[in-house]
Symmetry: C2
Subunit: 118 residues, 2 copies
């Protein structure tokens, strides 16, 4: 159970862009950004994908250096690596998140029926 994260200077632009180019992962990042500072566990994203599939997407985000995952008991706490991303690619994350706000037709985490218990 290693959970390897790239160092800040190992973060690669094409990999970050490709990883953010998936609607499910974009929705995850968007939600993380909206709850900035609050570590979330995977179950928060279960309306985006199945448990198995989430594990896959969260691993992609982690391996790209977009998120950090830390073990906490039986949970995993996920956070955005905002500081590292801002250091490496200033302004990129903000403009992607702002752009995601412009793009209707993107999946969201707590929409409609599930928003009540958020």
């Amino acid at each position: 159970m290693s959970l390897p994260h790239p160092t800040t200077d190992q973060i690669s632009l094409p990999i970050v862009l490709a990883v953010l180019g998936d609607p499910t992962r974009l929705a995850i990042v968007r939600y993380l950004a909206s709850k900035e500072g609050v570590p979330l566990n995977c179950s928060k994203f279960l309306d985006l994908a199945s448990k198995t599939n989430l594990s896959y997407h969260l691993a992609k985000l982690r391996e790209a250096g977009v998120t950090r995952s830390e073990a906490a008991g039986t949970s995993r706490l996920i956070t955005l690596r905002r500081d590292d991303l801002d250091k490496r690619f200033p302004g990129l994350l903000d403009s992607v998140i702002a752009a995601a706000g412009e793009d209707k037709a993107l999946p969201m985490v707590g929409t409609a029926e599930t928003e009540i218990d958020a």
Copy 2:
């Protein structure tokens, strides 16, 4: 020979990100940005990929709404759709291009041996 381009509001964020997530295409966009305003023909990018492969990547960029291609005699003039991208996703293109400048390890158009005749 239609050469369809999406309208500004048809441009999709995940598709743009996925398209820019390829090192060859990122290099194309970077070069276009460095020659902003000057329409370039495909041959400018021949050190990035084969003729066939370039056609493929340029079609991807066009279909995503990142570039515009116009027929001009036997050539095709390629331009960045900066205005449209800035309108749809303000700041995104600039931060991606700036980020590309930070990322050593990206392919470039006129590097080293080919730069003499640029």
